[in-house]
Amino acid sequence: MGALLEVKNLKVQFNTLEGVVQAVNGVSFIVEKGKTLGIVGESGCGKSVTVLSVMRLIAEPPGKISSGEVLFEGKDLLKIDKIHMQNIRGQEIAMVFQDPMTSLNPVLTIGKQISEAIIVHQHVSNEEAFKQTVNLLELVGIPQAEARYNDFPHQFSGGMRQRVMIAMGLSCNPSLLIADEPTTSLDVTIQAQIVELTKSLQSKFGMSVIWITHDLGVIAEIADRVIVMYAGYIVEEADVFSIFENPVHPYTLSLLKSLPRVDSRRYERLAIIPGSPPDCIHMPAGCPFMVRCGFAIERCGVENPLLEIVEDDHKAACWVDVKNGRAE
């Protein structure tokens, strides 16, 4: 299948009082039709900024998309006008946000919040929008959907609210759904439900999904392809099996080691990644991960490695051949 979304060399920066923050530094990736792309990384690594830029939802100022292309079905979204973009948002590309408590407007009923998108994009009557909204609420598994149409967000539980968010995202049958850490603020059992729900809806509607998370466990379940981000760079990109079976970048490696495993022995402690991500204002000259990296060599402090093909469809940005323990 062909590419639905292609992001090329995207760079985003924020002007703050302290200086210019380079949030995204030349990120490129492809989302194929009907497939799921997972984006993994610690908070502040630029994953949310990347997808918000795709939606052109970065507040300008202080934010600025300084270069790059976002090709959606061949059109560069960064070049089209405001009205055109409004038609794409919600209708072609929909987004589900992290915190369903703050992402829903507290003073409007959830019915109103879902149906308004339907009315705007499909130009249907209020009755038709009501019917569709109730269908959607049923689809995402909200009991007594019709009765709950006029309820307010605070009357729902966290998991139910996230289902409402998903219903809102699906309302106009988008070809791409972007889910920005949709399960982070939920209980583990609810998390699983939401993941299952998304997967079933995806197979039903054949849409593509970008799923952002810092939880590799979720990625394993949902993603077809994975990119790992660190400090605004993509450090590794591969299909989901390669990432778990054959990780190449030291950062991916340490992420996997910090994941608890059922088959591990009790006394084995989880690995932690020492230190914290670099300050994105004063970015070090070499590899941004070097300070925390156990494999660092001298070259890492001088030159930032580029994302290069390691094998087949597997890319990574590292000077060191981690598996063989020597520099490439």
Partner: protein
């Protein structure tokens, strides 16, 4: 992964960091960045110099001389700001009136802070029935509109106190009355802020710790909790000076505040609207002085609010 592998070229993190600033330095730095607040300080100093330095050029006796033959004279080289309806020199009166207006602002603020902090602290610290009584009282006070209340109190009391002497000047007793009245009718907002802060602070561990070591309540209130709620008090106190000056102007303007012959910027305006056409200098000079003073104090208050904002203070400079 072990961390002690090849660390040769890694810069030490501590090199990048500057030595931490003292809180007061940080506040000062942030205040300095607020240009209007700095301008406010400058204007306020000018005003104080005007009210104090002016005494070297005009005597107080001169400001009180009435001479109806030169009433309502326009500004001239003899009377730079003109004369009022009974022939007094307006320049001299703005100087001596300024002293009173600034004094009223300052002392009424102190009174307001004392009452507001005491009531807020007691209500917030002890809670329970004491809290509800004090808060009902505060609420009732808030529900009586301040200007009419000031007018009633000013009218009732302004002629009850005989003139007093202070700093070699003779004041109308109404100055004391107005200070008391303004101070006692404007503490409610501050009391609510202080109470809210005390309510949250009294649950914190340092207070529990102080209690455990047998510290007296009074000492906990004033030495442990109060210093932690200084920022909003400082901001409120600053703005209170401006509000007191305006309040005095309101009541004196309506003729129930400070009684002549003692001048204030406010009572110089009393009746000025009757001469709006023939003698605009009656209100232009004292009125502008009030506006400049109030504006400069408000700017300072705004700057202090930004500079003392705890959310901003925790961020690195």
């Amino acid at each position: 992964m072990e961390t002690n592998v090849t660390k040769t070229n890694i810069p030490a993190i501590s090199e990048v960091e500057k030595p931490p600033l003292l809180l007061s330095q940080l506040v000062f730095l942030r205040f300095k960045r607020h240009k209007m607040a700095v301008a406010g300080v400058f204007i306020l100093i000018l005003m104080i110099c005007y009210a104090i330095g002016g005494t070297f050029f005009k005597t107080e006796a001169f400001s009180l001389v009435t001479d109806t033959s030169i009433r309502l004279n326009a500004p001239s080289s003899v009377h730079l700001f003109g004369t009022d309806a009974v022939g007094r020199d307006i320049l001299a009166r703005t100087i001596y009136g300024g002293q009173i207006s600034l004094l009223i602002g300052l002392i009424a603020m102190i009174l307001e802070v004392i009452v507001g902090v005491l009531i807020g602290a007691i209500a917030g610290y002890y809670g329970g029935i004491l809290d509800s009584i004090l808060m009902r009282f505060t609420e009732a006070m808030l529900n009586i509109p301040q200007i009419p209340l000031l007018l009633v109190l000013g009218k009732m009391l302004s002629d009850k106190i005989s003139p007093i002497s202070l700093f070699g000047r003779q004041f109308s007793g109404s100055v004391i009355v107005i200070i008391a009245v303004i101070g006692l009718t404007s503490w409610m907002g501050l009391a609510r802020i202080v109470r809210a802060n005390f309510l949250s602070l009294r649950e914190q561990e340092f207070v529990t710790a102080a209690r455990c070591t047998g510290t007296k309540n009074r000492s906990i209130i004033f030495e442990h909790i109060l210093p932690n709620t200084m920022a909003p008090i400082i901001v409120s106190a600053t703005l209170a000076v401006a509000n007191a000056i305006i309040s005095e102007a309101y009541v004196s303007f309506l003729g129930v505040g400070v009684m002549p012959p003692t001048a204030t910027w406010g009572n110089m305006l009393n009746g000025a609207y009757n001469y709006i056409e023939s003698a605009p200098w009656l209100w232009i000079f004292p009125g502008s002085l009030i506006v400049l003073t109030v504006l400069s104090i408000n700017f300072i208050g705004d700057g202090l609010r930004d500079a003392l904002d705890p959310r901003a203070l925790t961020q690195a400079e």
